[in-house]
């Protein structure tokens, strides 16, 4: 099987876990998880070099189900456990990730914390002579937090070679479009001004993601991934309410319409 077909199947399998978990628990933030499934799939299936100690910190913690799903696909968590234990009474996996969960590198949920912590890890790698890379993913709304930019400025100044920041630029935040609430465009220029290397990619193109995430660099890199909130579920794609909507078992067909369509075509 070609590597691109393989990644496509992997991403669909992860999406299925996200949707099953959302359906079983009746929980929200589905759109936020779906916008990063392709990014995390490429990251975990292609980019992260376990032997070198590469790691990933999810800063926009409300997309936890996407992280649990790719961790399950990578064999770190059990798929059935994730679906049955996500956001349920007596479950194991909360709506935001915590460090005590295997594979989770950052306790998240209060937005704006990840970049500084990732910088700390990258500085430790440089100090200890490790060639590891630290990837951190933030939301575009999360960029409102001043703590993000404090860390971006310091990272540009200290320039540890292993730091990689992915911005999930899906264009939506809590109360509307990012451009209407607080526009930070042009994003790339802002990171460049702080001394970062910048690339912009289609956040659903596995080939483009693999290239951007794996690109060698000797200083911090910001990867602005242009994504669609709710990607993979036609009823949620590009919809503001994909942040809040939850689904009951009888609405299953709405959630799975996109995936089933792909399978029929294959």
């Amino acid at each position: 099987m070609s590597t691109s077909a393989e990644l496509r199947l992997e991403a669909d399998a992860a999406r299925r876990i996200v949707l099953e978990a959302a359906l079983a628990s009746g929980s929200c933030h589905i759109g936020s998880s779906l916008s990063i499934v392709d990014i995390l799939t490429v990251l975990y299936q292609r980019t992260l070099r376990a032997g070198e100690g590469d790691r990933f910190l999810l800063s926009k913690g409300h997309a936890a189900s996407a992280l649990y799903a790719v961790l399950a696909r990578a064999g770190v968590l059990g798929e059935g456990d994730v679906i049955a234990g996500y956001c349920r009474d007596g479950g194991t996996y909360a709506g935001h990730p915590e460090r005590h969960v295997p594979g989770v590198e950052l306790t998240a949920g209060s937005l704006g914390h990840g970049v500084a912590v990732a910088l700390g890890r990258a500085l430790a790698d440089r100090a200890d002579g490790r060639d590891a890379r630290t990837f951190c993913l933030v939301g575009d709304g999360e960029l409102d937090e001043g703590s993000v930019w404090e860390a971006v400025a310091l990272a540009g100044h200290l320039a540890p070679p292993g730091l990689r920041l992915i911005v999930d630029a899906n264009g939506f935040q809590g109360l509307g479009r990012v451009g209407e609430v607080l526009s930070l465009e042009p994003l790339g220029e802002k990171f460049r001004a702080f001394g970062w290397v910048v690339s912009e990619v289609d956040g659903h193109s596995h080939a483009a993601l693999a290239c951007a995430l794996g690109a060698p660099a000797r200083r911090p890199v910001a990867i602005v991934a242009r994504t669609v909130k709710g990607h993979g579920v036609p009823a949620l794609e590009g919809e503001f309410m994909s942040h809040y909507r939850s689904f009951r078992p009888h609405e299953r067909a709405i959630l799975f319409a996109g995936l089933d369509r792909i399978e029929e075509a294959a």
Partner: protein, 313 residues
């Protein structure tokens, strides 16, 4: 409780041109009535709680009455230095509103649980801390906050809390409500724990234990007089809060009782100095961490056995 607050907010905005509503990118579908009633006085500052509180302080220095809204930990803990300096130390007329008291955000986990907001706000000099127990009281507390001159933190539950108090409850800042007046033990609660406290009092009544139930819709200033009177009468006090047992409501009660000479025994029920790492809904977590009605009743029974007013036989 949240809907009750937003009803009050729209009314306040319509009645007083100084009232502003600010949010840190939260409250979907909730600010529209305010925007209609108070055009130009609504602002979403984005996901930036320090800026939320700082901007509110600036508006207050200019004579406005800003309500700054977010999830409870984000408006108290995340922005704490702004709350401490720009609001409390400066004595600014800012109304901080935190939604999601205690573990009401359930499965969303510890980052969204407000287990330390009462501690962080009540420690600040000049801060008024309100924790209504049901929707009707939340609505009245919002009005009282607007009228009160000075910094206020208003702690709200989420939504769907039962009505436990009379719809025309007479809310006054700094005054506890005595809801039952039994002689055997005092159950003193605040905020959303009114539900569990009420359940406990009912359970105890079935066993012939006649409790006093005190509800503190204000945590600061603390109604010491009401607590001391009830403690003197019953000899035993159980405090109940949807918050850590460290430095919150129970601690405030302990401080008062220790210095009062009332000689009552005390048990604090709340989150026992832990984050709620377990995964589950609000009611699941309340049960799991020992804050449920039956757990409160158990705590009361334990005290009755030890209470000097009730010799063991």
């Amino acid at each position: 409780m949240r809907d009750a607050f937003f009803r009050a907010l729209a009314r306040l905005g319509a009645a007083d041109e100084r009232v502003w509503a600010l949010t840190g990118d939260l409250g979907v579908g909730l600010f529209e009535p305010f925007e209609a009633a108070a055009p130009g006085r609504y602002l979403n500052v984005g996901i930036a709680e320090q800026t939320l509180v700082g901007v509110a302080a600036g508006l207050a220095y200019a004579g406005k009455v800003p309500f700054a809204y977010s999830i409870a930990p984000f408006v108290t803990s995340r922005a704490h230095d702004q709350v401490r300096v720009d609001v409390a130390c400066a004595g600014a007329n800012v109304k901080l509103v935190g939604v999601g008291s205690g573990v009401s955000y359930g499965t969303l986990g510890p980052t969204h649980h407000a287990i330390d907001d009462l501690a962080l706000t009540r420690v600040l000099p000049g801060m008024t801390v309100l924790a209504p127990g049901d929707p009707a009281e939340a609505e009245r507390a919002a009005h009282a906050a607007a009228v009160h001159e000075g910094p206020v933190y208003l702690r709200l539950g989420k939504n769907g809390e039962p009505a436990l108090l009379p719809p025309d409850v007479d809310f006054r800042i700094g005054r506890a409500l005595e809801l039952r007046g039994g002689p055997d033990v005092t159950i003193a609660c605040t905020g959303t724990a009114l539900r569990e406290a009420t359940a406990a009092v009912d359970l105890l009544a079935q066993e012939g234990v006649d409790a006093t139930l005190l509800h503190f819709g204000t945590v600061k200033p603390f109604d010491a007089e009401a607590l001391i009177a009830a403690a003197a009468r019953t000899g035993a006090v159980v405090t109940v809060e949807e918050h850590s047992t460290v430095a919150g409501f129970g601690s405030a009660a302990a401080e008062v009782l220790a210095e009062s000479g009332a000689g009552a025994v005390l048990r604090r029920v709340g989150l026992p100095d832990t984050f709620a790492h377990a995964v589950g809904s609000r009611d699941y977590l309340v049960d799991r961490y020992g804050l449920s009605g039956p757990a409160v009743a158990d705590a009361a029974r334990g005290l009755l056995e030890r209470s000097p007013a009730c010799p063991t036989t």
